[in-house]
């Protein structure tokens, strides 16, 4: 129906190689991008600042982590710390008067350097052991950030972000901050969509499927894992900088705790490992389910006046949120992206049931 396959006849190789071979997909992407572009003028400020902006930032972070988890198959439980390194590095540079363009890259590089240092140590192990090694990184970075007041910024442990300009535009307004985050996000998305079509991406896929087998066919698995750590940490550091500059506008250690790391891992997994689209779904679910459920429960309790205790009312959203994660994984273990793909495949041949 929507994703019409009939009548699409590729006559040139580049037609078939393009990112979205179906016209409907292309139209959809263009529409969504257009909506995102006009969002600051079309939506109420509250939706821009409290839904779209964090959604875009968290999705970018999830994409960076997805490169590592979905692309190279390596678990990382310290991604929050990686983002923290980037955020602190760039904010310190900004306060020293370095322009944002450079601070952004420097934040990414700082994260990449420290992240791959830990990676080099942690990559001797796999699976759960790797998860623990990266968790150790989270604790060590947390400790260092909060115990050196030269990093965390004095007794109140909060660093204000000074007013900044990006490419000559001041980011003081909500719309400018939003466009800045959107620009970075689009850049990351394009990178992620294309990386799997490069030799690097294919090598990562080989490592993900079986690192010994990859080694046998001549892919240096340790080197590629390390490069994956480097690239993913670089993205994480940049997103950390974006988060500080355009969302929080002040950094403090509690923004980058283990909670953030677990939140991001949850986004990647619930969304779908290795899926770009899934990162957006996952980020939306994990970020907004608690908020929406809270409003829904409050609304329900107020409207129907059910006599539930304050404790139950406060914890009901948490229960539902946990139940949603469990439910989605039981329904479709491959994540929200897979659920979407199933629907898409169904409509691709609708009203028939099979295409082969």
């Amino acid at each position: 129906m929507f994703y019409r396959r009939a009548g699409i006849l590729h006559t040139r190789y580049q037609d078939e190689r393009q990112l979205w071979p179906f016209a409907f997909d292309r139209g959809l992407v263009a529409t969504v991008l257009a909506i995102l572009l006009v969002a600051p003028f079309a939506f109420d400020r509250i939706y821009l600042v409290t839904y779209l902006l964090p959604w875009i930032i968290w999705s970018s972070a999830a994409l960076g982590l997805n490169l590592l988890m979905g692309g190279a198959g390596q678990v990382h439980l310290g991604y929050g710390a990686v983002m923290g390194i980037g955020a602190y590095a760039s904010v310190h540079l900004l306060r020293a008067g370095i322009p944002l363009e450079l601070a952004l890259l420097a934040g990414g590089l700082a994260s990449a350097a420290i992240g791959s240092l830990f990676g080099a140590a942690a990559l001797r192990v796999k699976g759960l052991y790797l998860a623990m090694a990266t968790l150790a990184m989270q604790y060590i970075v947390d400790f260092i950030i909060s115990h050196f007041s030269i990093i965390s910024g004095g007794s109140q442990a909060t660093l204000q972000v000074p007013p900044v300009r990006f490419l000559g535009v001041s980011l003081a307004s909500d719309a400018a901050a939003y466009y800045f985050a959107l620009l970075i996000c689009v850049g990351i998305v394009l990178f992620m969509l294309n990386v799997r079509r490069t030799s690097f991406g294919r090598a990562l896929a080989a490592v993900r499927e079986k690192d010994y087998a990859a080694a046998v066919i001549g892919v240096d698995s340790f080197r590629f894992k390390l490069v994956a750590f480097f690239v993913s940490s670089f993205v994480g550091g940049m997103v950390g900088c974006v988060m500080a500059v355009s969302y929080y506008r002040a950094v403090s250690p509690d923004q980058f705790h283990l909670d953030l790391s677990i939140q991001l891992v949850a986004m990647v997994i619930v969304g779908g490992l290795g899926s770009v689209l899934g990162s957006f779904f996952g980020a939306a679910l994990i970020l907004f389910a608690p908020i929406v459920l809270n409003h829904a429960v409050a609304f329900g309790a107020d409207t129907f006046g059910v006599g539930i205790s304050a404790d139950l009312r406060a914890h009901l959203p948490l229960m539902l949120y946990g139940a949603m994660i469990v439910g989605f994984l039981l329904w479709e273990p491959l994540g929200l992206a897979k659920i979407y793909n199933n629907a898409r495949n169904y409509f691709m041949v609708w009203p028939l049931r099979h295409n082969r």
């Binding site: 623990m132 060590i140 469990v326």
Partner: protein, 295 residues
């Protein structure tokens, strides 16, 4: 730093480490039989403590009755979790199954405080708080009793693995497919592992809950337990025992010796560094079996 203090810290550290080891042993039990890390183990400890509290405080049962009842209820809860959620995930990627346990953790953290109230509950198991001095050394009664109970339980589970049922579970942990082919009911073995693990978590929850009170923060026991399980080797119960003692000792001594120098709480950092070093030197923990992969 005087010798007596070091001795005192060591003794208490060992007992505390044993108490953590009990949570870790539950993790290992499940990992051994089904190959997944149960990240809801801390939440199960919290649930166990809540259940025991509810039986004693809300139903009015005496503590000697409430604890066994709670253990039975939690054994059932463990079985149920496996049956309803985990069994349907057989054959799915491990990371998905782990995420599922995170989901269960979040859910439990909502359900129990939601039903029984979020305020901290008192769980009095009758361990007195009066100081107990041996010479100049203070023995912390609660941690000593907790540590000894943990030791006994972990030892019991080592013995259990030598029984007939334990042998069956060892076979399952070796190779599920092969066990199936010789007539072992793999699903039952896994279910029993979950039940036992839940009871172990409950015991840990009671021990910790009697010191710190019962509220959601009991679920934070998970992180330390995970560290101990990794250090000992995820599939080794004796390893857990040794790793628990090691971590308990290192943390306790770090608090005594390092903190004054650094001017911060180094406990978690020292544990993290130990884990990082172990993984560098012995990638599969102290006692873990090296996994031989086929290409």
């Amino acid at each position: 730093m005087e010798f007596a203090l070091i001795l005192e810290l060591s003794v208490n550290g060992i007992f505390i480490g044993l108490m953590y080891a009990l949570v870790a042993a539950g993790l290992v039990l499940i990992y051994k039989t089904s190959g997944i890390a149960n990240l809801a183990q801390g939440a199960l400890a919290m649930m166990g403590a809540y259940v025991v509290w509810a039986i004693s405080a809300q139903l009015g049962a005496p503590m000697w009755l409430a604890i066994p009842l709670g253990l039975i209820v939690m054994f059932g809860a463990g079985l149920l979790t496996e049956r309803l959620a985990l069994r349907r995930m057989i054959g799915q990627p491990v990371i998905m199954v782990i995420m599922l346990t995170i989901g269960i953790e979040i859910m439990l953290r909502g359900v129990l405080p939601g039903i029984f109230g979020a305020a901290v509950k008192k769980l009095d198991v009758g361990i007195p708080n009066d100081p107990l001095f041996i010479g100049d050394i203070l023995i912390n009664r609660a941690t000593m009793i907790g540590g000894l109970i943990s030791l006994a339980l972990v030892a019991l589970s080592i013995a259990f693995f030598n029984s007939r049922l334990g042998l069956m579970m060892r076979a399952v942990s070796d190779d599920q497919m092969a066990s199936w082919s010789v007539g072992i009911r793999v699903d039952r073995a896994v279910a029993i592992a979950w039940g036992l693990s839940a009871t172990m978590a409950t015991t840990a929850g009671i021990l910790w809950g009697s010191t710190q009170g019962v509220d959601w923060s009991l679920s934070l026991l998970l992180i330390k337990a995970l560290a101990i399980a990794i250090l000992g080797g995820l599939d080794s119960i004796p390893g857990v025992l040794l790793a628990g003692v090691l971590i308990g000792l290192a943390e306790s001594l770090a608090t005594g010796l390092l903190d004054p120098l650094v001017g911060g709480g180094t406990r978690d950092v020292v544990a993290s560094v130990i884990i990082l070093l172990t993984l560098l030197l012995r990638p599969h923990g102290l006692f873990g079996r090296e996994h031989i992969e086929r290409v």
